[in-house]
């Protein structure tokens, strides 16, 4: 006995467009969005009115002409060098610290109890979830104004990020070479140094380079809280409403990021080819 079909041959009930769970999910998203706009009380008038556009226009017009005084350009050049140095130093410190923390944060072999694994991962998570800028604001108190605080801030946050990634690569490395040395009775540290590390080092390098790229961007703005580099110049001159100088600093930032972007793009292309 075949099922009764209606004349068009379609099942009577239209198929559900989506699962009820998905619908609930979308409903949650929608209510979150509505609640957000509702409670923030955005001043739409302040940025959509004619008056706002005019004041915005005036504000942008003040950026020009850009300051091109050679003395100031040298200052901006130094700011750029400082930004680059902060990012390099911060990333290098983080790579070292990240590796040092990644070892206790991973199970080195199958009979390793990994007692320190969970606590170390908690530390790494805490380091990672506090953004660079918040670290910088905190560290200003001990390290004083200037690029040193910024470098340390980058190092703290990046240690969290790299430590976790490094631990993951160490745990995923093929265990056979390490086991071969371990059965000879060689200590854990030497086993790690002569088998696991050489296996994972290309991956660690690529993670570190990727973070360096991120950190250049971060270093450029850290100075807004007083931690050196281009950001410090930016907030200083913007605070004094010297818009021409602000425009020059912004241009330097954009240029720096653009150069780094295109360099990494070409490097990646050459490495994947």
């Amino acid at each position: 006995m075949s099922a009764q079909l209606n004349p068009t041959g379609c099942p009577k009930k239209a198929p559900a467009i989506m699962k009820s769970g998905t619908a609930l999910l979308l409903l949650t998203m929608l209510s979150l969005i509505i609640a957000s706009f509702w409670t923030l009380g955005l001043k739409w008038g302040d940025f959509l009115s004619m008056e706002a556009f005019r004041s915005m226009g005036r504000f942008i017009a003040e950026f020009f002409p850009m300051e091109t005084d050679s003395e100031f350009l040298v200052k901006v050049g130094w700011g750029t060098v400082e930004t680059l140095a902060m990012s390099l130093m911060g990333t290098a410190l983080a790579a070292v610290a990240g590796l040092a923390l990644a070892i206790p944060a991973s199970k080195l072999h199958s009979s390793d109890k990994g007692l320190m694994r969970t606590p170390t991962r908690w530390v790494l998570n805490a380091l990672r979830s506090i953004p660079e800028l918040v670290w910088a604001a905190l560290l200003l108190i001990s390290a004083g104004l200037g690029p040193f605080a910024g470098t340390l801030a980058l190092a703290f946050h990046t240690t969290g990020v790299l430590g976790r990634l490094f631990a993951e690569s160490i745990e995923n490395a093929p265990p056979e070479p390490a086991d071969a040395l371990r059965t000879q009775g060689i200590g854990n540290l030497r086993v790690f140094y002569f088998t696991t590390l050489p296996q994972v080092i290309p991956q660690l390098m690529s993670y570190t380079l990727y973070r360096w790229e991120n950190n250049i961007r971060a270093a450029a703005i850290l100075g807004v809280v007083g931690a050196g580099g281009l950001g410090q110049l930016l907030s200083f001159h913007m605070g004094l409403f010297q818009m021409g100088k602000t425009a020059t600093i912004l241009a330097a930032m954009l240029l720096l990021v653009a150069i780094v972007d295109s360099m990494s793009y070409h490097l990646r292309r050459r490495m994947t080819r």
Partner: protein, 282 residues
């Protein structure tokens, strides 16, 4: 048969590190490289251990414990946390409204002239121009946009929402374009070849194919936006960041530690929610 310890001359060779030269080279090289960097970043760890600094730091860190748990402060933090989430959410919605039309206008897949040979000059120029706009929007960090908008619309969440909208609009526009162009384009192309309009081809060909990936990326970005909206508070865009900045300036360690704990929990929660959404979607 007794096994006497036999002297084996093979083990008399002194232990030698085969990679010694290489190692020394890298150590010297990095010292030479690190020295100028340390100078440029005014890297003086000694500063941290000067008695005066040690005293201040110890006092500040000491005041972290115990975290302040007064109901007054907790309510303020709850409010600020919600503001932070709301800024990120509203910013993302506005970023979407910026990115969506720009993506449709700039994607190569919806070009009719590009189906057969080269794209015509005018559409090519328009698409390229839109790409440049997107690059400009995302090259300026959201913190800098926020600094600018704080001066135009004043202190408060509006500046934060606008900052996230512009930077994330640029990012979403770029990545949406990449997602649309990397997928299977045959159905869209077929629709266009058979005379359907661009919007028809988009809604019936391109969008259904990629909607999951697009949504999943958007949710991931929302998670990032929550993190940046905290940071935006430091330049006066309201929310948890601003409260944190105020407490730090007053050296109130107890309040700072409460807020940091809340912030870490918030990030973990956003992480979990976003992972859950993305798993449901894919």
């Amino acid at each position: 048969m007794s096994s006497l310890p036999v002297h084996n001359p093979r083990f008399d060779v002194p232990l030698r590190d085969p990679a010694w030269h290489q190692r020394m080279f890298w150590i010297v090289f990095s010292i030479v490289l690190v020295w100028p960097l340390a100078v440029a970043t005014e890297f003086r760890p000694g500063v941290l251990f000067e008695p005066e600094n040690m005293r201040i730091s110890a006092e500040f860190i000491g005041s972290f414990f115990p975290p302040v748990l007064e109901p007054d402060l907790l309510w303020r933090i709850v409010g600020a946390t919600w503001t932070t989430v709301a800024i990120a959410t509203a910013g993302m919605v506005m970023a979407l409204t910026i990115a969506f039309p720009l993506t449709i206008l700039s994607t190569r897949v919806l070009s009719i002239s590009a189906i057969s040979g080269r794209m015509n000059t005018l559409p090519f120029v328009v698409r390229q121009a839109i790409r440049w706009v997107l690059i400009f929007l995302r090259s300026i960090p959201e913190l800098v946009w926020a600094l600018v908008f704080v001066r135009v619309v004043g202190l408060g969440p509006t500046a934060g929402v606008l900052a996230i909208a512009l930077t994330y609009g640029g990012m979403l526009g770029k990545v949406y374009g990449e997602i649309l162009e990397s997928g299977e384009t045959t159905p869209t192309e077929t629709l266009l070849r058979n005379g359907s309009g661009r919007m028809q081809a988009f809604f019936y060909g391109l969008l259904p194919q990629n909607v999951m990936e697009l949504t999943s990326y958007t949710v991931y970005r929302w998670e990032c936006a929550i993190r940046s909206s905290v940071v935006l508070g430091f330049v006066g865009a309201g929310g948890l960041g601003q409260e944190l900045d105020n407490s730090m300036k007053m050296f109130n360690g107890g309040e700072v530690s409460t807020m940091l704990i809340v912030f870490i929990l918030l990030v973990a929660l956003a992480d979990a929610v976003s992972a859950f959404f993305r798993k449901r979607l894919v």
